[in-house]
């Protein structure tokens, strides 16, 4: 196994084409144990595509993705979730007709035992408790019995986050978590992320709000047109001429 010994997620020469367009070309970066990695870049630079490859929604055309030392490229999303990686979505992905609590419980399926147990028994009490705990942690416990579709945008975002956490992940991929929510929510979310990070959970965050990202990410990777153009400390990235050109240039 090459690379940093503390690499939780190791992406090497990741490549993905769509018909005639190349979304990702030889992209390599890693997420180290315990860090918050920021993934930034102008629109269409391939950030979400990278996340989709890592979380199993897309099969890469080349390169490798190692999570905790294991090759996961091409695995189905549910297998990857079970291995301890959660993710949220840019466009909200909740189950609108089910209550917030039920949304959380779906994510806990795997903990409930084999197929037969799941069919014939009720939820283990521990599972329910954990779901309720997480809802409290995120501040949306009052909405537990409401259909998820009725929640406000910000609340749904928190629910989305909660679902990703139900699988007790060691790595969470957040796709634009701060987008389109009010500053108070942003602070709440950022605070929760820091808390979880303190408890050992690693994060990779795509965020357009570059200021926010530069504020609390340990490291930053910059993509442009499907390639990595810069990587390093936030302060260095802020001054990198290539990055500035990518955002403001052609």
């Amino acid at each position: 196994m090459t690379g940093s010994p503390m690499a939780l997620l190791e992406i090497t020469r990741l490549t993905k084409h769509f018909y005639r367009a190349t979304a990702l070309l030889d992209v390599s970066f890693s997420v180290r144990q315990g860090e918050i990695l920021g993934l930034i870049g102008p629109n269409g630079s391939g950030k979400t595509t990278a996340f989709n490859c890592v979380s199993g929604l897309l099969t890469p055309d080349g390169g490798s993705i190692r999570f905790r030392g294991e090759q996961i490229a091409g695995l189905r999303p549910d297998a990857i979730f079970r291995r301890g990686m959660g993710r949220t979505f840019q466009l909200l992905q909740v189950f609108p007709g089910m209550t917030a609590l039920e949304n959380m419980l779906v994510a806990a399926q795997e903990r409930a035992g084999g197929t037969l147990t799941r069919i014939l028994q009720r939820d283990p009490a521990a599972m329910r408790r954990r779901a309720e705990e997480l809802l409290r942690f995120l501040g949306i416990e009052a909405q537990a019995g409401q259909p998820a579709g009725n929640l406000s945008y910000g609340q749904q975002k928190l629910l989305d986050f909660g679902m990703a956490l139900m699988g007790e992940p060691s790595l969470v991929l957040l796709d634009e978590p701060m987008a389109a929510i009010n500053p108070v929510m942003i602070e709440t979310l950022a605070d929760r992320i820091r808390q979880l990070n303190g408890a050992g959970v690693s994060f990779a965050i795509i965020e357009h709000n570059v200021g926010v990202v530069l504020d609390f990410c340990h490291r930053v990777v910059v993509l442009d047109h499907g390639e990595v153009i810069a990587e390093g400390q936030p302060s260095a990235i802020r001054e990198d001429p290539q990055v500035i050109a990518a955002y403001f240039g052609g």
Partner: protein, 316 residues
Amino acid sequence: MLAASRAGRASLWIALALLAGLPLVVPDYPLYLASLTLIYALAALGLNLTLGYAGQVSLAQGAFMGIGAYGLALFTAQGVPFLLALAGGAALAFACGLLLGYPALKVKHHSLAMVTMGFNIIAFLLMRNEEWLTGGSYGLSGIPRPRLGPVSFADDRAYYLLVLAVTASVAALAARMIHSPWGRGLRAIRENEVRAEVVGVNLRNYKLAAFAVGALLGGIAGGLFAPLLRYIDPHAFSLERSIQLLLMVVVGGLGRFSGPLIGAVVVTILPEILRMTQGLYLILFSGLIMLLVLFRPQGLIALGDLFRPASAEGRR
């Protein structure tokens, strides 16, 4: 969902009691219709699992009924007691559901409709052509009414009660399944497939299970169907039947638990009421379906929603 509340549960028991009392007040032919309706409701219930909950468009439910029916008839002819024969036919249907589901679920939605349609037609052709096994176009006759120990169900009223008992028990089990964690996973798939997958739901396993269990229920329904008229022929399980069951599920209310029953009642009883119009009822019926799809897509069950406040539990 009805059974959740105490009032709901009480009304279920009342409904059951009323249904059980039916043979006392209702003459032969309507009783036969009632038995038939219950059997179709069971098959539609299975299809609702596959279609309404797991979202798989299946046009093979008629074939699964047929497998259950022919299975029961052939086992019975070999001297196998009724309950075992019923289980045997249903198991065959389940196995076929697995066999069909496994490769079929790899294809996209629209293609699934075609594959299941193709399966139904092949099954029909086999039933019609393999005379040595199935009696061909002439079908199988002389299927006896069951005997459970000293009790004979040869009497139409007794058989109706047996059908009611089996249907109600299976429906109760199905309800249990839908409210289990597994059932919730299924509903999650229906609501948002991509999200479900990303939070750990193995789509393949769930869809396959729903498909196979749907087939199983269809097989049980078929096994009850065979002794009803003591005769079966391939035409009872053709593509027409599958389409009819599909319409029942849709008309009643997709993905709602009591939808199939409502649909079965409408589709089976309505023609009888409209009997005076002869073939006109099909024109009216298909016209009704089109109107329903256009203006009340949630099915007839949605009309009930107009009178009940929206529950916090959401759709069940």
